[in-house]
């Protein structure tokens, strides 16, 4: 079973990549937490169990870290690279740069698709209502200009368009809200990939 020092070291290891200030702050908090529980009569081991495993502690902190900070923290190498690794990375650039760029492109494309759907939905509603109002004006004007039946037809068409626009407004509003939520969930999913990956890397290097 690990002792207090090992436990804190493990947390530090799992948070590697975050700023020194953030890590120190977290460690101070957990040091205090252990001390308080031990003062309360728990053994070191019991205190560690009560506070939460190093994995749990790190995951909670990482999930609450903003995405850009998280990416730069997890992408940063955990140790200095050996010379041959640097060479490999440089030689491999024609391979990994397109792959990274492609992944990035896919992520952007997904977000773009969601947003264009939102814009399209809004545009449909807006065009129905605006077009309808315009036809309404045209219909009334035509009526006074003596167009007769044609004006009446225009007038009817205008009412249909405005009616459709108003009718579709509520389902479309919830559709847009759902799309926005979908976007948020997508970002959260990306974030989760990073948190998971960073934990796997660290347990492998042990």
């Amino acid at each position: 079973m690990m002792n207090r020092g090992e436990y804190l070291d493990e947390i530090r290891e799992k948070l590697k990549g975050l700023s020194e200030k953030d890590i120190d702050e977290a460690l101070e908090f957990y040091k205090e937490a252990l001390a308080d529980r031990i003062d309360d009569g728990l053994t070191e081991e019991q205190a560690i169990n009560a506070v939460g495993s190093a994995d749990e502690v790190a995951e909670q902190i990482l999930m609450d870290t903003p995405l850009p900070k998280l990416v730069s923290a997890t992408v940063k190498p955990k140790r200095t690279l050996k010379a041959w690794e640097v060479v490999l990375i440089i030689l491999g650039a024609p391979l990994w740069i397109p792959v990274v760029a492609a992944l990035f492109g896919v992520a952007i494309a997904i977000v773009a698709v969601i947003f264009s759907l939102i814009v399209a939905v809004i545009a449909i509603i807006a065009s129905l209502i605006i077009g309808g109002l315009a036809a309404l004006v045209a219909g009334i004007a035509g009526f006074f200009a003596g167009e007769g039946v044609a004006a009446l037809a225009k007038f009817g068409l205008a009412l249909v368009m405005v009616g459709l626009g108003v009718l579709l407004f509520i389902p479309c509003k919830s559709l847009v809200l759902w799309l926005i939520e979908l976007c948020g969930r997508f970002f959260k999913w990306i974030k989760k990939q990073f948190v998971k990956r960073s934990n796997i890397n660290k347990s492998e290097s042990k």
Binding site: A26, E28, F29, Y30, E32, A33, A35, D36, R37, D39, D40, A50, V51, G52, S53, E56, V57, Q60, I61, M63, D64
Partner: protein, 103 residues
């Protein structure tokens, strides 16, 4: 309980735990335990969030030969509690209506 709801409730519970007197991590956990049981690994991100949101301030004080962090509520934090109360007043009214006796 729904995760998002629990998250929101925990923030309010933590603020409530420090609203009368400044408090520290372990005491906050013990104080809110009857309502929602959490460990330090959950509490830490909540405290950070509340601090970043200006709802509380932190200071270190010596205790028993070591440092302990004490958290005090700010005006923003107090307002959060008041907002929560008025919001839940409405929800309670709805609850009463929903769960009223069948006639």
């Amino acid at each position: 309980m729904d995760v998002q709801l629990k998250r929101g409730l925990l923030e309010i519970l933590v603020l409530a735990a420090i609203k009368n007197d400044d408090s520290y991590g372990y005491k906050i956990i013990k104080d809110i335990k009857p309502y929602l049981s959490i460990s330090e690994s959950t509490l830490y991100p909540i405290l950070k969030r509340l601090e970043e949101g200006g709802c509380l301030t932190v200071r270190s004080e010596e205790y028993n030969g070591r440092l302990r962090k004490y958290y005090s509520i700010t005006a923003t934090g107090k307002k959060r509690i008041e907002d929560f109360k008025s919001e839940w007043k409405e929800i309670m009214d709805i609850y009463k209506y929903v769960s009223r006796e069948e006639e």
